[in-house]
């Protein structure tokens, strides 16, 4: 096995045991990126010089036998919507091309303190608005399993990078499924923590009441490893919650006998993709064999999730994205005659069509005369959706569902019709509305060899439980583990 194929925990251990230098690891990773990324296009920005410098610093520490921080030498890819000091942060938008934040997001500070090394910033749908990474102003990312297909979105770059062994681990953000759906499409593990578990400081807001940062990893224990580092209260984020951070890795070791799993009826609808259905049922069978008690449950307000989400998320977005006005930073039009034409042109030229669509929708939902009928009503339905989950969680420990109704679809397949695109998040969106933690992990493949994801939804702040069930499943899953883009012929590499 070559270095870039390692998991995060393996890398961290090898460094600690001095079996390999961090410089070697980082160099190998950049070699892999040079080979693969022309095809995948997972990265927007590489941080090579800085990363190699940091690698050397850690190597010196290792030589001097100094104590190493917990993630020393671990290379991490960061979704380009998380502020990184001195590293360009574009949100996949023309609007922020050339924006270098003067500060780090809290998660970045935490990771750096833990010894992680940022290797680059990954591609995404512009301002995280999308489900395919096709809405990036800098071109799409391609699914490593099938380069004609999308990696999912909006954290498509992060998921693809991890799947293609271009990073050991990545950070994504999830507003309506943006970590879990691409993780499912790319066959990796993606965890959206409970709202408030991970600080949002430095996460460039799409929809503030829904956004969360979370890990995208090659396996479940790596997810647990990263969660331990990035979780916890932050006095820079009023919505972060002051609860102790458990040792997630340790909880993974416990078995899942007698755990109560609910399977929401509303998520298995007539006409759903039969391959997804089959694979998910097989996964449920395995969980049952491991001692879990599985029963069907009902979340009656599920059908209202999508419209509710698109009212709340876009309303918040219309306000969050208003600051991109060409005054202080970012893109400014060249042709304007007064303030209002400067605003209009800057925003018309700086934003892509999906972002504009959502800003308009959200502006409308908040307008006087419409507020009660749209925004306020959506908030009320959101409460009903939350209550659905609360009711079910009084009897069950976790819920299990498919992550997405289909495996990865083809590029351009859904671009023409935003509604069908929105439907690909139908299983992930209710989780954000309820603020719950949820994890997606691979549970098999379609006949065409595309990964299919299994979603585990937990009670608020009980990431431990979903990580434990996921870990048990992963350990006992007999399906052969595959990896994409392993034997690249030289011809294919010419991108």
């Amino acid at each position: 096995m070559t270095l870039h194929q390692l998991s995060a925990s393996e890398v961290v251990n090898l460094v600690k045991e001095k079996k390999v230098s961090v410089s070697e690891i980082i160099q190998d990773l950049y070699d892999r990126i040079a080979k693969v990324d022309p095809l995948v296009k997972a990265f927007l920005i590489l941080n090579q010089e800085e990363a190699l410098k940091q690698a050397k610093e850690i190597d010196t520490k290792v030589k001097k036998e100094e104590e190493l921080p917990p993630l020393a030498g671990l290379a991490i890819a960061v979704k380009d919507i998380i502020a990184t000091k001195g590293i360009e942060t574009t949100c996949g938008s023309r609007m922020l091309k050339g924006f270098y934040p003067p500060y780090n997001a809290t998660v970045i500070d935490k990771l750096k303190e833990a010894g992680a090394i940022i290797i680059g910033k990954t591609n995404l749908d512009e301002f995280a608005m999308g489900s395919s990474t096709e809405n990036s102003a800098f071109g799409p990312t391609y699914n490593p399993w099938d380069l004609e297909r999308v990696p999912g979105g909006s954290s498509g770059g992060s998921a693809a990078a991890v799947a293609a062994d271009e990073a050991f681990i990545a950070l994504g953000t999830d507003t309506g499924g943006s970590i879990r759906q691409p993780a499912s499409f790319c066959g990796v593990v993606g965890l959206k923590p409970t709202y408030g578990r991970v600080s949002r400081y430095g996460l460039i807001a799409y929809a503030s009441s829904l956004d969360q940062i979370g890990p995208i990893t090659k396996n479940v224990s790596d997810s647990a490893l990263l969660m331990r580092i990035i979780s916890g209260p932050d006095n820079r984020d009023s919505t972060s919650v002051d609860l102790p951070v458990p040792d997630y890795l340790k909880s993974c070791q416990e078995e899942i006998k007698n755990i109560k799993i609910g399977v929401p009826r509303e998520y298995f609808v007539e006409g759903m993709n039969f391959e997804v259905k089959d694979v998910v049922y097989q996964a449920l069978k395995l969980l049952e064999e491991l001692g879990a008690k599985i029963e069907e449950v009902s979340l009656p307000h599920t059908e209202y999730s999508l419209p509710t989400f698109y009212l709340i998320a876009t309303a918040e977005a219309s306000s969050n994205l208003a600051r991109y006005d060409g005054i202080q930073y970012g893109y400014r039009t060249e042709n304007y005659k007064d303030l209002s034409s400067m605003y209009q042109r800057t925003r018309s030229e700086g934003f892509g069509p999906e972002v504009k669509r959502r800003i308009m929708l959200g502006t409308y939902a908040l307008s006087s005369g419409y507020y009660d009928a749209y925004y306020l009503k959506a908030q009320k339905v959101r409460t009903l959706i939350k209550e659905d989950f609360t009711r079910v969680f009084s009897k069950y420990d976790i819920l299990v569902t498919p992550t997405s109704p289909t495996p990865a679809f083809k590029l351009k397949e859904k671009m023409a019709d935003p509604l069908t695109m929105y439907l690909s998040d139908i299983y992930t969106i209710p989780v954000n509305l309820a603020g719950l933690p949820a994890l997606s992990l691979n549970c098999g493949y379609s006949k065409g060899g595309l990964p299919i994801g299994l979603q585990l939804i937990g009670k608020p702040f009980e990431e431990e439980t979903i990580l434990r069930v996921a870990f048990n499943y992963e350990q006992n899953n007999k399906v052969e583990k595959r990896k994409p883009l392993q034997n690249l012929s030289p011809q294919k590499m010419v991108g």
Partner: protein, 482 residues
């Protein structure tokens, strides 16, 4: 028709907390280089988040309670969305449907009669200040705007009154008394010129017979108490004239133009702004426990009204003097500090209201910045009492103290203006004056008292006022008799 003036005020006060409302930046922004007092949060940089400064909540509670408001035990922040270059997030974090305080009142007393009027306070809420646009020349002629965000994120309270003020003078008095309250609460310095207290007004004319309320206009840009009165007086007249001619009043925002003494329409095309308020998702609702409210209520400092009562009772001051002292917290403090070292309150208040206030006003200096501290003023008064200088000389010394900030004793020594207490020296001068003015001496001998005053004056002239008048007068009489 019988007309009645209807005025409601919207007052913004800047809180004197150390840090801004949602970040750690200092609130001390005046005179700082542009955009030096800023951070990612008050610049609204992408990814930054607001965290409420708890002190702001405390200050706002103090204000709301002093204005007799009820307190919402759960209040929340809203976003007020609009585009303007001084607003870095393109929304202002403010409060909307659940303000911190509501349904309060302030009882004002109208001088000179002392008639009391209760003015309703609709609401008191917390919000953040915006930055400032800077133009070369004025906004209309300048080809570009510069933005300074130093003021962005300064904590504000917005205080809205019911439309219950009945004249521009009442509005001015309300504002003065409100200022005194926030000064006594130590939440705001109340400086209108520097913008730490700002006031907009809604004004309309009501037909007092039918009770029908006329269309209101909003008046902005009134940067002093005097401007508030003048602007509103102008607006009352303007509206009355229009009504008399049967012209409809347009609902609009008007700017007070201080140089021309008129209000002018601010927006050509009045677009109804839709601020698209919605609850701020980055901040949790504010939960305020009854215990916290009680604690703040218990620890409210003495407010102007009770302070006035105390001044009248304890210092035996006339109501009119007490009124002046409490109209400005710092002035009351000044008086009290001086009082601690000086027994004769009557003399003290005369100096404070007279020389001190006159000089401060003349030089446009705030009481807090007075070059003559209360201790120094008392030092001067004691020199008079000890007979070292005369009351008249003291006024000159006061002015020198005001200019230099020196102690009275220091000035008296430097300038050798101590009263001449050496009797022999004085007698010599008296003799000389008698010799030089035989006519006056004769007049005095014939019983003309005026002549004596003249002679005393001459001695004072020779001594440059350093002689003690009683002594001189006595000495002249004795010398002439002999």
């Amino acid at each position: 028709m019988k007309e009645e003036v209807v005025i409601g005020l919207e007052v913004h006060i800047q809180f004197m907390t150390k840090a801004k409302i949602f970040c750690q930046c200092s609130t001390d922004y005046l005179g700082k280089g542009p955009n030096t007092n800023v951070c990612p949060i008050c610049l609204g940089l992408p990814g930054s988040l607001p965290v409420l400064n708890k002190k702001v909540l405390e200050y706002a509670l103090r204000t709301a309670l002093a204005l007799n408001c009820e307190i919402n035990q759960v209040s929340r922040f809203h976003r007020k969305n609009y585009f303007y270059p001084d607003l870095p997030k393109a929304y202002q974090i403010s409060q909307y449907d659940w303000p911190l305080g509501f349904r309060g009142h302030l009882e004002i007393s109208i001088p000179p009669s002392g008639v009391r009027r209760r003015i309703g306070i609709t609401r008191v809420h917390i919000e953040e200040d915006a930055g400032k646009l800077i133009h070369e020349g004025d906004i209309a002629s300048s080809t570009y705007s510069l933005v300074d965000y130093n003021r962005s994120g300064i904590p504000l309270a917005e205080i809205v009154t019911e439309p219950e003020l009945r004249s521009p003078e009442e509005a001015r008095i309300f504002l003065m008394q409100l200022r005194s309250i926030v000064q006594h609460l130590e939440v705001c310095d109340g400086n209108m010129e520097e913008g730490s207290l700002r006031c907009d007004a809604n004004i309309s004319i009501r037909d007092s017979q039918t009770g029908v309320l006329g269309t209101k206009t909003e008046i902005k840009n009134m940067n002093s108490f005097r401007a508030v009165k003048k602007a509103l007086e102008f607006e009352v007249e303007r509206q009355k004239k229009l009504l008399a001619k049967g012209i409809k009043i347009v609902q609009e925002t008007r700017h007070w133009d201080e140089s021309k003494n008129i209000t002018v329409s601010m927006r050509g095309k009045e677009e109804a702004q839709d601020y698209r308020y919605f609850p701020e998702p980055d901040l949790l609702p504010l939960k305020i426990s009854p215990e916290m409210i009680e604690k703040i209520r218990r620890t409210l400092p003495e407010l102007p009204e009770s302070r006035k009562e105390r001044f009248i009772k304890v210092y035996n001051l006339p109501e009119d003097d007490a009124e002046v002292l409490i109209s400005n917290k710092a002035l009351g403090d000044y008086f009290e500090k001086a009082s601690a070292f000086y027994a004769d309150k009557k003399i003290l208040i005369n100096w404070v209201r007279g020389e001190l206030l006159y000089n401060l006003k003349e030089k446009k200096i705030e009481v807090e910045q007075s070059p003559i501290s209360p201790e120094k003023l008392v030092g001067l008064l004691k020199l008079i009492d000890e007979g070292v200088i005369s009351g008249k000389i003291a006024k000159t010394v006061f002015e020198k103290m005001f200019e230099s900030g020196k102690e009275a004793r220091e000035i008296v020594q430097e300038d050798k203006i101590t009263q001449i207490t050496d009797q022999n020296e004085l007698i010599k001068i008296v003799d000389r004056v008698i010799e030089e003015n035989p006519q006056s001496v004769e007049d005095f001998n014939q019983g003309k008292e005026k002549a004596l005053h003249y002679l005393v004056g001459q001695v004072m002239r020779y001594t440059q006022g350093r002689a003690k008048p009683d002594f001189v007068s006595q000495a002249i009489k004795e010398r002439i008799k002999n």
